[in-house]
């Protein structure tokens, strides 16, 4: 079992511990600097903060050491670094939200460890793929249930149960990724052969294609009924990427891209809010006093930061609407400058690299597709919001994984990270790098 000492596992966990401590150090230093910049004094309760930070991160590390000793040593430190910088930014923006986010951080790490404990053999998840499909669809559609779901900021993605508000869509992503990976790993032979040829693309049998159409249908519902363009785009990308990887047929990318273009065209003509997003993207200046204000203020924030930033606590990011959620990257650009913002981009690139390396290393088709799916969720979601904030794409509001304020997003992403680390560990086991 995992308790048997393996030199490689020990080396990996030592690297991870070192890197986690480095992330903790960076977070602690940034926390102190932000307070000095903002209030010209050391933060109140700095001692308890540093202790809880250290305890939390070391607990996460011990969880990995105990339950996934063979996993990649990079994933956890990268996530905690992003989490730490995001937390410092939120604390710098609002004292009140800092307390809430701290509680959510605790829950997120607990859920992360829980995932490691529960998912001892990732391949076992395959058995529950249809359960995850139902759970995913249920969670995704939950905000549409009258009396439970509600709209906020134009999108109907919230659910209120008792005192707790959360976004079930964040968890639906994880469920649907498991389903897609399971379904495609079993059907990839069928999907990559047979069927009719239309326009040079070999289409599979309608029967096998049906669940995939269902997933696509969900993403359309998300866009139309919940007005959540970002999540819809994310689901669709996830589905196309997994189809492409599973079948190794580039035709799916072309087909998916075409389907997306068509969908975008129809949505543009049908929905005012989609047209708004496009017109703001093309020319925010003429709508400065209205819908363009946020993106223009974001650009001003980036410009203010320049190369090295104004310094933590010394900028003026609070003037950007939703800066703690969707626009947290603009606050980072302003106060940490090009250097800090590039570090954040690099951390996401490294997470993607680690995730995809995990996918390549495992020879189990389900684990491979699941690792690709989870990495795609993280990488593409971050890309969608970063591209929106930077005006590379029209802005669609999704959270920046590990960094934005919000409990649902943080908890879901830590659970996702847990599964990814579990896959990494199981591939190490299969490669006999650590004992079976």
């Amino acid at each position: 079992m995992a308790n048997t000492v393996s030199p490689l596992a020990v080396a990996r966990r030592r690297s991870e511990l070192g890197l986690v401590l480095l992330a903790a150090f960076i977070t602690g230093a940034a926390y102190v600097l932000a307070s000095l910049g903002k209030n010209a004094s050391l933060p109140a309760r700095i001692g308890p903060f540093l202790v809880s930070l250290l305890v939390l991160l070391v607990c996460a590390h011990i969880g990995v050491r105990k339950f996934a000793p063979g996993a990649s040593p990079l994933l956890l430190p990268l996530a905690t670094l992003l989490h730490g910088i995001g937390y410092v930014m939120i604390a710098r923006l609002s004292d009140r939200l800092a307390g809430l986010q701290a509680t959510w951080s605790l829950i997120a790490v607990a859920c992360f460890i829980a995932v490691l404990v529960v998912v001892r053999r990732v391949a076992d998840l395959l058995r529950y793929q249809y359960t995850f499909l139902l759970l995913g669809v249920f969670l995704q559609l939950l905000p549409l249930v009258p009396g439970v779901g509600f709209s906020s900021g134009g999108a109907r993605i919230w659910v209120s149960i008792g005192p707790i508000n959360f976004q079930p869509g964040e968890f639906a992503k994880l469920c649907l990724a498991i389903f897609f990976a399971g379904y495609l790993s079993e059907q990839r032979e069928v999907l990559s052969s047979g069927g009719k040829r239309i326009a040079g693309v070999q289409l599979p049998e309608m029967r096998t294609f049906l669940p995939v159409m269902l997933a696509w249908g969900v993403s359309v519902v998300v866009m139309v009924a919940e007005k959540d363009l970002g999540s819809s785009l994310l689901f669709f990308t996830l589905f196309v990427v997994l189809l492409w990887v599973a079948t190794e047929r580039s035709g799916y990318i072309v087909f998916g891209g075409g389907l997306f273009m068509l969908g975008a065209f129809i949505a543009y003509n049908m929905f005012g809010h989609v047209r708004d997003r496009f017109s703001i993207w093309l020319d925010p200046w003429s709508q400065y006093n209205g819908k363009g204000y946020q993106i223009v203020q974001g650009m001003f924030g980036f410009a203010e930061g320049g190369m090295s930033g104004t310094g933590l606590g010394l900028g003026d990011p609070t003037r950007i609407p939703a800066v703690k959620n969707d626009f947290i990257f603009a606050a980072i650009g302003e106060e940490l400058g090009l250097f800090g913002a590039t570090a954040v981009l690099a951390a996401f690139v490294f997470i993607i690299g680690s995730g995809l390396r995990t996918a390549i290393r495992t020879d189990n088709a389900f684990e491979k597709l699941l690792a690709v799916g989870l990495t795609t969720i993280l990488g593409v979601q971050a890309f969608i919001i970063l591209a929106g904030v930077l005006r590379v794409l029209p802005l669609t509001g999704v959270t920046l994984p590990f960094m934005s304020y919000g409990g649902s997003s943080l908890v879901a992403n830590y659970m996702l990270l847990g599964v990814l680390i579990a896959i990494s560990h199981s591939s190490a086991r299969r490669l006999h790098e650590v004992p079976q």
């Binding site: 650009m299 001003f300 090009l338 088709a365 491979k368």
Partner: protein, 499 residues
């Protein structure tokens, strides 16, 4: 599948490379352009919403200060600092106001860099305290005394007008108050719309409360101008203490049919000393006409009439004699009228105080100033004002002669009623009643007095001007109306200024 996963990795990497490129565009490439965009007010708000040092009177009363708004009373994204004027209207005309959308005025405007801590000296002093950047603000110390200023306010009461108190030896302004005025707190609010509405209302209000009437407005001086006419005559050798003027109640200048009369149509004449203390009009009308345009206009110019007053405050007014040499060449009657301060002669109240101070100071006219010194946050002196002579319109001998004339006004003339100072200190003065109405209309006049004390070794000068806004306010002469105000101010000023 690994081949496809590698392609996916490359694709995602390309996406992030695109983000990196765009990040460079905003943060480096178009940085200057975005920061200079007129919609981008980050820089100006940051400069505005910062700690700012106080403006303090010579006796240590804070008249402008910045307070930090407690965090729990701030809205998200709202200002952290509020400029306050604890003395409200009292020093509005000196401190001015400080706003985001409408700029700043007076000391707040001229000394903005010092108050904000932005002068090179202050920034050098702040080096080494990187984290404690909050306190590099400067302090401006005024020459004005809060007690004197309060007294001026109380003495004017609800009457429109100005009172100026100067240190005759340095030109330091000890008090400068005018009615109507305003409360800068009503303008320095954070809400731009509210500030704009307040300013608009003040701009439209009668009496121009936003203008510091004492140094930004000019008024017909009446007989106080006779000091300058007499000085010009003495300097040019046209008159002497021995000059005699006929007793007469009417005189018609050359080339006109309109006779000039004395105040109250009285018969008036005698030697120079007597016509000055009694303030006869005809002798000064004759004097001007006799001297002619060239001597008179050039003599008046020596006093700085026609030039902006050199006070260390923005937008000071310019006194005027109402014409150049050529304007009077064919109109000696006009010159005669201007000779006793009527017609289109206009003097700034501060300037009239400077005239008395010049006589007091042996003929040297000092530059008036309100800022004594500026200090850095740690008390280091950044600058201090040294007294400077602006011009020397008259010789010490002429000054001494005028001094005796003005003592006569107090002891046995138009100011006899009201300038007996405490402790038997001898004052010197000249009164003025500037007639604003045309003959036959209701009597309406500005009441003036300009004075200094002690006559034998002068230290302070006081000018008071009460605006003739209606007949009620005009029911008296400069001596009876403005005299009592000057007395109270002289008494107190002599206690404030050491010997």
């Amino acid at each position: 599948m690994n081949r496809v996963i590698r392609r996916l990795a490359i694709g995602l990497l390309a996406c992030y490379a695109l983000l990196f490129v765009q990040l460079n565009v905003w943060q480096v490439g178009k940085r200057a352009e975005l920061r200079a965009n007129p919609l981008n007010n980050r820089e100006s708000v940051r400069q505005f919403d910062a700690p700012r040092g106080p403006i303090v009177t010579s006796d240590g009363v804070v008249i402008a200060q910045t307070v930090e708004i407690p965090k729990d009373q701030r809205d998200a994204g709202s200002y952290a600092y509020q400029r306050e004027y604890p003395t409200k209207e009292l020093f509005a005309n000196v401190s001015g106001y400080y706003t985001y959308a409408y700029g700043a005025t007076q000391v707040e405007h001229l000394y903005s860099d010092v108050l904000a801590g932005n002068t090179p000296k202050q920034q050098l002093l702040a080096v080494g305290s990187t984290f404690n950047s909050v306190d590099q603000t400067g302090e401006v110390q005024l020459t004005l005394n809060s007690e004197l200023q309060k007294l001026a306010q109380r003495q004017l009461g609800n009457r429109e007008g100005s009172a100026v108190v100067l240190d005759t030896r340095t030109g330091a302004v000890l008090a400068m108050y005018s009615n109507p005025t305003y409360d800068p707190n009503t303008v320095a609010v954070h809400d731009n719309d509210e500030a704009g509405a307040a300013l608009e209302a003040l701009a439209d209000a009668p009496g121009k409360p936003l203008l510091a009437n004492a140094y930004q407005e000019r008024y017909m001086p009446g007989s106080t101008f006779k000091i300058i006419t007499t000085a010009t005559g003495l300097e040019a050798g046209f008159i002497s203490t021995a000059s005699e003027w006929p007793d007469e109640n009417s005189w018609t200048p050359p080339n006109t049919k309109n006779p000039i009369q004395n105040y109250g149509k009285k018969t008036c004449g005698g030697d120079m000393f007597e016509v000055f203390r009694r303030s006869c009009n005809i002798p000064f009308a004759r004097m001007s006409a006799d001297m002619g345009p060239e001597v008179m206009v050039n003599g008046v110019k020596k006093w700085g009439v026609g030039e902006q007053l050199p006070i260390d405050l923005p937008n000071a007014a310019t006194s005027t004699f109402g014409g150049e040499v050529a304007d009077f060449t064919d109109s000696l009657a006009l010159l005669a009228i201007h000779g006793f301060g009527q017609g289109s002669v206009q003097m700034v109240p501060l300037h009239m105080a400077m005239v008395a101070a010049t006589v007091a100071n042996g003929g040297a006219m000092m530059k008036p100033y309100v800022v004594a010194k500026t200090l850095a946050h740690n008390g280091t002196e950044l600058s201090s004002t040294s007294p400077e002579v602006w011009r020397r319109p008259i010789s010490p001998a002429t000054a001494a002669t005028l001094n005796t004339f003005m003592v006569g006004v107090v002891n046995n003339g138009t100011a006899k009623c009201c300038l007996a100072l405490a402790g038997g200190i001898q004052a010197a003065a000249k009164t003025g009643t500037a007639q604003l109405n045309a003959p036959g209309e209701t009597q309406r006049s500005h009441a003036w007095i300009t004075s200094f004390a002690p006559a034998e070794a002068p230290r302070v000068a006081v000018a008071v001007m009460l605006k003739g806004v209606n007949a009620q306010i005009s029911a008296g002469t400069g001596g009876t109306l403005a005299g009592p105000v000057a007395k109270v101010l002289l008494d107190r000023a002599l206690k404030v200024v050491p010997q």
